[in-house]
Symmetry: C2
Subunit: 457 residues, 2 copies
């Protein structure tokens, strides 16, 4: 029996490894159109920021080790052209050999990931203009930074990846300008968080133009001219980080159902609408526990977890023992570094709350990461959203100098447990001067939220 | 109407402030036998470690400000001698004036705290031998360190405070020896945590003698000779940190019921057995949510929260509006710094589990605080305890280089929500290379625990 996996990064390799672990007798073939498998995509910006490290540092498992140690038949530079659900075959182009072939499967896992969105403007194919989606992109960016004297850069898009790239380029001594179409950096984050992030960008000399659209990029000798509706910026590198979309072309053409988000619809066993076909990772939806419906939030943790479930169940579907795993769903937790600050969020933001038709109160609080009497104490800002009436936490966002991401994890846990702000306010959290004030910022945020709920009832 | 509060530190001042906030018309008198009120006791070791800072830095609210800004009648150096529950009066010795008087109350809050245990061995009254319980102790220690050339020290007791003191004395360039009666440092912590802590002490040149009893301290010129059953150590300072006991003498003599722990028995409204009498903080018990019964774990956060509840309800009992507050209970969360490591715990440890007659599995895991590809990644060790059968989390302990205390808060939140390890394993926690690996140590710990539960079923 054979399990075929399309895509060899986080979800795909998790699925392949899990299927082999469940049943060492089954044949597992991983097909990836790229050169690399199993790498830390989230680590790419930081790797780019460190010229001393090779991009290959990000590889968790290379194809050879996957073959020899895990018994996985990894085929890189093999692009799947079509999925035939009724005949249970995939059509493959071997990009190395320049030939095509078919491969049959007993179970199929689609882990085709997401592709970078490229705005439809002229000049994005010029040398020196990059997206950052896979290791090949990372290699090209590093080579460009090594070969060309880059003193100025434009980053298009001020979301997570855009800000991470601005951070690392700034660290390399490059003057960075950011262009963002929305009227704020960090679209989706609350104003109180955005203000602190924008101030951090300003403090580090990053020029940010919000409500600004990229119009075209032009070459001018060794330089690139970046035209927006606000003017022209002369740079030597352009990073386009305006988001990703699920890579669902193969699934759609095979007649596999997509969800409302545009990603592949799956149940908690990662089954798609086609029998024996599973999907996992950035190409698939995930059940959002706060919304109570499917959503699409492509993130590495989710990809790994979904891949594991898909692999176990694919092995079972192909006839192996075990399986019947379920993915527990997401609450939308994410974190990133913004220069000397940590930023993180979990649950719903204001636009998701509005879109879901929920009636919520937002409460902003600022507090401290340590006891005030302890050196190195840093400010921290928290926004919590809670449902009017029930008082249930709907989401939380934080920005501050330290221990933000793991504090957000407390809110994430509270979302899983469907806690109210009053219950969060009563949590027995650790206190020690080096790590937290007597009332942790989490408790203060909940307390301010409880008061806001009472006031506006 | 008058509310009298015995004790002016965390619980006492929280109670007094809350009572005044609830009803600005009520008279609130705080009686404290010491010189100081409202200070950060937990900050004392770190303050001692910094000769440039005054001890008064730890004062949150001084008596004068409490009087002028909060309208609280603070009387320092006023020692309560007795509580007369039937006549509703306290008998007070004014230590400044050398006179006694009585004060009647409509509601009374006992926040008499805890006192340091002093082993019954000769020499503990010698100059240079200290406990660390209040600001006066901290001042004496700092003065001694400034006046005497201290090159070697003994810390008796290797619990939280002992290790914090060893840490700061070592930071002052003093060679530190520790004596601990138990057969391990950090009594109550799991062997896997203790091993890492003991190694940190060793790495920093701290000599630790476990299973060792202090026998006596002797003066020898400018030095002190510390005799134990293992030999003699010559030092210039001795810190005795062998624990505290609840200061319940007044309550006991007044016929107020004590709990099984020896601390004052209270309900969730912080009411004692005597009508109109409340207790809060280190002198009182707290409902332990994991054990489902009262316990005594004296900590600053609990003191502050209980004080607030006691103050609100005392105001109500005295006839003021509002009140009817309840303390939500504890799960036993605590954290501290151990040289370059953070240590934290929540819930039950193995002896508490055994004592409660619970059947539990312990699972140890070691992982990383960041993605391995990100610089500055540090090891982290986690122990989780879960109930056999139900799989419910009973407790967790962690030690590592960063973000330990706030990770323990995730386990604490899970304890409040009575989560199983399987539910914790499914949590959607933040991932970003600078702050966490794809599978956070919390998830790995839960996963290892789930496997241990399955294996030993």
């Amino acid at each position: 029996m054979r399990i075929v996996v399309i895509g060899g990064v986080a979800a795909g390799m998790s699925a392949a490894s899990q299927a082999r672990r469940r049943d060492p007798g089954c044949e597992v073939v991983v097909l990836d159109r790229g050169h690399d498998i199993s790498y830390s995509a989230c680590g790419m910006p930081y790797n780019i920021g460190d010229p001393a490290r090779g991009v290959d540092d990000l590889v968790i498992l290379n194809a050879e080790t996957a073959r020899s140690e895990r018994g996985i038949d990894v085929r890189t530079r093999h692009a799947v052209q079509a999925i035939d659900v009724s005949r249970r075959v995939v059509k493959i182009a071997d990009l190395n050999a320049g030939s095509d072939y078919e491969l049959s499967w007993d179970a199929l896992v689609i882990a085709s990931g997401a592709t970078a969105i490229r705005p439809a403007v002229p000049g994005l194919d010029l040398a020196g203009v990059f997206v950052l989606r896979d290791l090949t992109d990372a290699r090209h960016i590093k080579r460009h930074l090594a070969d060309v004297k880059v003193s100025t850069a434009v980053v298009v898009g001020a979301g997570y990846i855009g800000i991470e790239m601005a951070d690392v380029l700034h660290g390399l001594g490059i003057a960075v300008s950011m262009l963002e179409k929305a009227d704020q950096v960090l679209p989706g984050f609350a104003p109180a968080i955005v203000d602190v992030a924008a101030h951090a960008l300003e403090r580090h000399g990053v020029s940010v133009q919000t409500a600004t659209s990229l119009q075209r990029v032009q070459r001018d000798g060794v330089d690139l001219l970046v035209h927006s509706d606000r003017g022209v910026i002369r740079v030597q590198i352009v990073i386009v980080a305006v988001g990703v979309r699920p890579d669902v072309a193969l699934a759609r053409e095979a007649g596999i159902a997509l969800g409302a988000s545009g990603a592949i619809a799956v149940d908690s066993a990662m089954r798609t609408s086609a029998p024996g076909v599973f999907a996992a990772g950035d190409c698939a939806e995930a059940h959002h526990l706060v919304l109570g419906r499917p959503s699409w939030i492509p993130l590495g943790t989710t990809a790994n977890k979904q891949g594991k479930v898909a692999g176990a169940n694919a092995a079972r579907a192909a006839g192996a023992a075990g399986g019947d795993q379920h993915f527990g769903g997401i609450v939308g937790s994410a974190g990133f570094k913004c220069f000397d600050l940590e930023v993180a969020r979990t649950g719903l933001g204001s636009s998701e709350i509005a879109h879901a038709g929920l009636d919520a109160v937002a409460a902003v609080s600022t507090h401290h990461t340590r006891a005030r009497s302890y050196p190195g104490d840093k400010p921290i800002t928290t926004v919590v959203y809670a449902e009017r009436g029930s008082g249930r936490l709907l989401g939380a966002q934080m920005i501050g100098g330290e221990a933000v991401a793991k504090r957000i994890d407390v809110f994430a846990t509270a979302l899983h447990a469907r806690m109210t702000l009053a219950q969060i306010e009563a949590l027995d959290l650790t206190y020690a001067p080096p790590f937290a004030p007597v009332y942790d910022p989490i408790l203060i945020a909940a307390s301010v939220g409880v008061k806001a709920l009472a006031k506006r009832r």
